[in-house]
């Protein structure tokens, strides 16, 4: 019942805040958002899940399963539960939401009740995404995330907010549709062997040899491959993977700070989480067969994303593009499909959530004060805003993978996992991807030097002063968390390992017959991209 | 007995005449008349096939059709009247305030 309780608190809180006047909403929503944190931390402490939620031999924590409805051959359930992958993500969600709400106190000065209500709605949707284990329940939450996000960007965003909001909205919605088709291609390929759309049932059915039948003249392996790439195309948008990333910088730049925090911190993880759950748990053999293509996406995302970040002048764009780069590491780890690859990818989801959150918050504090985010418009801010500057320095170094901060652990695990992975040229490709850590250092160092250091100069008609406490507290909290995870990664990795270990024991059940699939795949991915 | 193909050809001809009228004439009343022709083409079929099939269903149905055609005309005339009142014309192509 804990998950329902979390959802309930968020939803009831959201409704209450919608109905109450603006003057209560900031503080009330902060108070309400503390409850899910307490709840999720309690859950974290009492977590008793074993194994991977989707695979055999697992025990889910906080599981609920009730009949929902049936469609044709399939029974749908309301089925939620947590394993070692989803539990940390839920804690991440609750914590980041509260910090985001806190950081909204300064910049959000109109239509507050709507803003904070939507933030709580968003939190509920995100918790649902990570907890759901039946396809349609998951999908409802997955799509539900878009709605508050659309408003949050569209109403409270920057000058081009309408463009960014609709772009985000349509782009990710198309992706969902593409993914949906891929998923059901796979489900129909399973034929009568499943009667539900429960993700565990599907994953377990797929692990049986010869489970997938041919569809529409496509041999089973092609069905799986096409399904894999359609789903990949769908999730790739959310991650985002180059070349379907262009909604992200626009969305980030236009979104207000608290929303950017959630967007980068949690929303992007939906994509990688789904990749982990769907593509890589369902079809590990396809992932291995096409590992080179997938790694190519990862490597291109890392390097190209980093290069793009290097070319930006807007601090938020820098962080946004570097997210593209960082999420490339997650893909790399997933494709590696080793314990450290998958575990590192999951760890990176958490870690990147915290670090990008920190940087967006930091940039937000600067923006609140200076009303500009352009690198060239300011310098020497460390002089007037030492704590904020310190936080940004900390965040930047965390992003660069400084040891004893969480980013290092995540990236190191991903690299280790990917270096020894089974796909061809794994060491070389890993090494290429790792070069991202140099580029990332480049742009963050340049950005820091030009904005924080040097002679103080910002053209404002008022005095630049230190940020207020409620702006700084989230920064400090995040830094503490980042260092904690970076120094004692076991507090999270132990749990992650429990859920990841069974995945690595999945063996390729079917020998892939490589035929003319490559063409079909290219077409299906391109189609997905074009759509 | 006249083979039913002949009736079929006749009804098709009547139907096409009606259709032609609809496509070419712009007067709303003639439009209505053309529709009546088309319905009557159906009626010819019903009656003819009724004989051929040896049941009366078709004939009964054609009665229904005639009745309905009358009702349709009643409503239609009403609409054409208000059309005239608003547009001062019964030309169906004058009323194009809504398009695209």
């Amino acid at each position: 019942m804990m998950i329902e309780l979390l959802l309930g608190v968020c939803l009831v809180g959201a409704v209450a805040i919608f109905l109450l006047p603006d003057r209560y909403s900031a503080r009330l929503s902060f108070g309400i958002s503390l409850l899910p944190i307490i709840g999720s931390l309690y859950m974290y402490a009492t977590f008793d899940g074993v194994g991977n939620a989707l695979l055999e031999g697992s025990t889910l924590a906080f599981e609920t399963k009730v009949n929902w409805l049936s469609i044709g051959p399939y029974e749908l359930f309301y089925h939620v539960g947590l394993d070692g992958v989803s539990m940390p993500l839920i804690v991440l969600t609750t914590i980041l939401t509260t910090l985001a709400i806190l950081s909204a106190w300064t910049p959000i000065d109109e239509r507050q009740s709507q803003f904070y209500g939507l933030m709580l709605l968003m939190e509920a949707s995100l918790i649902g995404v990570f907890a759901a284990l039946d396809f349609f329940v998951w999908f409802v939450f997955w799509e539900a995330v878009l709605i508050p996000m659309y408003f949050l960007i569209g109403v409270w965003g920057g000058p081009r907010r309408k463009y960014a909001a609709i772009k985000f909205f349509v782009y990710t919605n198309v992706a969902s549709l593409v993914m949906f088709v891929g998923f059901f291609l796979l489900v129909f390929g399973l034929g009568d062997s499943i009667q539900t759309l429960g993700l565990p049932a599907i994953a377990q059915a797929l692990s049986a040899p010869g489970a997938v039948e041919s569809i529409a003249g496509m041999p089973p392996n092609t069905v799986k491959a096409v399904a894999f790439f359609l789903m990949f195309a769908g999730f790739a948008v959310k991650v985002p993977v180059v070349p379907v990333h262009t909604w992200l910088p626009d969305a980030h730049v236009e979104a207000p700070t608290p929303v950017s925090v959630i967007l980068a911190g949690v929303l992007l993880k939906m994509g990688t989480y789904a990749l982990l759950r769907f593509n890589f748990t369902f079809l590990p053999e396809i992932a291995q067969q096409y590992a080179l293509i997938l790694v190519a996406f990862a490597v291109v995302s890392v390097i190209y994303g980093a290069l793009l970040a290097l070319a930006q002048q807007d601090l938020k764009r820098i962080v946004a593009y570097s997210s593209v780069s960082s999420m490339g590491y997650v893909i790399l780890g997933l494709v590696a499909f080793t314990l450290y690859g998958l575990g590192g990818a999951t760890f990176q989801m958490i870690s990147h959530g915290l670090i990008s959150g920190l940087l967006f918050l930091g940039v937000g504090v600067i923006y609140n004060t200076t009303h500009t985010r352009m690198v060239g418009d300011m310098s020497g801010l460390a002089d007037r805003m030492p704590v904020t500057a310190g936080a940004i320095v900390a965040g930047s170094f965390a992003y660069m993978g400084l040891p004893l901060m969480s980013g290092f652990v995540a990236e190191f695990l991903v690299f280790s996992g990917s270096f020894s992975a089974d796909f061809a040229y794994a060491p070389l490709l890993t090494a290429i991807a790792m070069f991202g850590i140099v580029i990332v250092a480049g742009y963050y160092l340049f950005a820091m030097q030009r904005t924080l250091f040097g002679q103080f100069s910002v053209s404002t008609d008022y005095e630049i002063t230190r940020a207020s406490a409620h702006d700084v507290v989230p920064l400090v909290v995040l830094i503490v968390l980042i260092i904690a995870l970076g120094s004692v990664p076991e507090i999270v990795f132990d749990m992650i390992e429990g859920a990841i270990r069974p995945m690595t024991e999945l063996t390729a059940t079917q020998q892939a017959d490589t035929g003319s699939e490559m063409l079909g795949l290219g077409v299906s991915f391109l189609g997905g991209v074009l759509l | 007995m006249i083979p039913s193909q002949y009736y079929l050809v006749l009804s098709a001809a009547v139907f096409c005449i009606g259709l032609f009228g609809i496509l070419t004439r712009r007067n709303a009343l003639i439009f209505l008349m053309s529709v009546e022709l088309m319905l009557n083409a159906a009626n010819i079929n019903f009656v003819a096939f009724s004989i051929q099939n040896g049941n009366l269903t078709g004939q009964v149905f054609s009665l229904f059709t005639i009745a309905l055609a009358a009702a349709e005309v009643a409503v239609g005339i009403g609409i054409i009247l208000v059309l005239y009142r608003n547009f001062n014309d019964v030309d169906v192509t004058t009323a194009t305030t809504m398009r695209w």
Binding site: P73, F151, K162 | S11, F15, N45, N55
Partner: protein
């Protein structure tokens, strides 16, 4: 498969009497099944009575209330039967049939009728001919309900006309409004043409099969017909398809729809685009699945025809909607687009998959659509009532003045777009799932493209209401109770259909599988 008979032909009667449905053959049978129609009929009579007693009365509340109460009673009866489940029962010698399908659609019709009657309370205000207005609405509802129960081309044609004729009049109800009149004219002319095509198609089918009863037609076709008649039958089938397509506003029989929806009083637009469309679909389901089973009529690939129609309809509807200037016309085109979606239910009957499910998905979509689309049009009615204009820009900043209504509208629009603010999400994805299941990948791709586009234009309204700044002179006068109530009810139901869809999806599944 039982071969029913007509009372007119003793020769065939003796030839093919089947024991199973004997007790109901000749009598009226149980009235339970047609109780909703009777209630609606009584409501219509009551309305006429009131109108004739007080011909000059403009007591809107009484008339509207009567309609609402009548349709609600019918709704409750239908709902009860639907939830408890019914046996498929034929009435009037097989002319009518009462089964889960008919009840399901009756539920849609009665609920839409109740909603628009409620909403018309303020919308009609103190205009003339109110009695006629409500009576025509109820009569059209009876026509639709009958259509859902039709089991023969004869009843189908008559109920189709019964549903259509009042609609023509209702569209032209604002008889001093050029748009309304023009819309009525176009609707009527295209309708007349289509019904002629429909009648002619029926005559050809009758000629080939010798019967008008769906089950008889199917039986004859299953036995096989002379190969030389395939062409005649085929033309008949396609023309019948045309007649149905008119009712569902499918391309190329859709031309009336944008104008009719735009010109008609907004509640009537809601009525037509939700209930009337559903009526067209129930007719299509019955005719094509019961009378023309796809495996029985080799050479007449109506599934392909529906696939073409589905693709063209959804594409035209959505693409044309994308660049509209007025909200109402956008909704009109979107309604065409949704017709295209539901046509997938028929286009996906390729025999490749579990067929009943796809059909059920279509039905579920129509049900949800009945609420969300009605709600959206009623919001337009509200805007028209306030007189704030028709374009997207005119809606700018409306949420500041009327947050509840705008929230409801957002629920409708997002649900229409397939986002989880309502059951529309599930039903649309069920259709997509059906298309994939049927290996109709072209339809799936079409649905994806159109769905994406639709999100764009639906969100334009949302953007106008919530994101744009209001024009300085935006004022709204009053919060009309009936309209508001109708909108809020529609919104609540739309939303509840997401978690509680099981209440209706199970009957829909039963209904869908009952046809095969």
């Amino acid at each position: 498969m039982s071969v029913a008979t007509t009372i007119m032909t003793p020769t065939t009667l003796t030839a093919s009497v089947s024991a199973s449905n004997q007790p109901l053959q000749l009598g009226l049978g149980s009235y339970e099944g047609i109780a909703p129609m009777i209630v609606l009929g009584l409501t219509a009579l009551a309305l006429f009575t009131v109108d004739s007693v007080y011909p000059d009365s403009t007591n809107n509340t009484l008339l509207s209330g009567l309609t609402v109460v009548g349709s609600l009673i019918a709704l409750v009866i239908t709902g009860t039967q639907l939830v408890t489940g019914v046996e498929s029962t034929e009435l009037f010698s097989g002319q009518l049939v009462v089964d889960e399908m008919s009840l399901f659609f009756t539920f849609i019709f009665t609920s839409v009728t109740a909603l628009i009657a409620l909403a018309s309370h303020e919308y009609i205000g103190d205009r003339e001919y109110q009695g006629e207005y409500y009576a025509l609405v109820v009569l059209a509802a009876i026509g639709m309900t009958l259509l859902a129960n039709s089991n023969s081309f004869a009843t189908a044609f008559i109920s189709l006309e019964l549903a259509s004729l009042p609609s023509y009049a209702l569209v032209a109800y604002l008889k001093d409004n050029r748009g309304s009149v023009e819309a009525g004219m176009k609707y009527f002319l295209i309708g007349a043409l289509s019904s002629a095509v429909f009648a002619y198609g029926i005559s050809l089918v009758y000629g080939v099969t010798g019967s008008l009863l769906f089950t008889d037609v199917a039986a004859t076709l299953t036995e096989g017909i002379d190969g030389s008649l395939t062409g005649v039958l085929g033309i008949g089938v396609v023309m019948i398809l045309g007649g149905v397509a008119f009712k569902t506003a499918s391309v190329p029989f859709h031309f009336w729809a944008p104008e009719a929806y735009e010109g008609a009083p907004a509640p009537i637009s809601a009525f037509l685009s939700s209930a009337s469309k559903a009526a067209g679909f129930v007719l299509a389901f019955r005719i094509f699945i019961t009378a023309f089973p796809a495996d029985a009529i080799a050479g007449i690939d109506w599934v392909l025809a529906f696939q073409i129609l589905a693709l063209v309809t959804m594409t035209l509807g959505n693409f044309a909607a994308a660049t509209q200037e007025t909200v109402k016309r956008m909704l009109a085109y979107s309604s065409i687009g949704h017709a295209g979606y539901v046509l997938i239910a028929l286009g996906a009957l390729t025999g490749a998959a579990d067929q009943s499910f796809v059909l059920s998905a279509g039905m579920i979509h129509l049900l949800v659509y009945g609420f969300m689309n009605t709600g959206a049009f009623l919001f337009v009615a509200l805007a028209e009532h306030w007189g704030i204009g028709r374009t997207f820009e005119d809606y700018n900043g409306l949420a500041k003045k009327a947050p509840v209504a705008c929230a409801a509208m957002s629920i409708f629009l997002f649900s229409l777009a397939g986002l989880p603010t309502g059951g529309g999400m599930l039903s649309k994805y069920f259709l997509l799932l059906g298309a994939v299941n049927a290996e109709a990948y072209v339809l799936a791709v079409g649905l994806i493209v159109n769905s994406a586009l639709s999100l764009y234009f639906y969100s334009r309204v949302v953007k106008a209401m919530w994101i744009e700044e209001p024009a300085s002179d935006l004022t709204i006068d009053g919060y009309p109770t009936g309209l508001y109530a109708a909108i809020v009810v529609a919104a609540v139901v739309t939303f509840l259909l997401l978690p509680a869809l099981a209440i209706f999806s199970d009957p829909a599944l039963t209904a869908g599988s009952g046809l095969f």
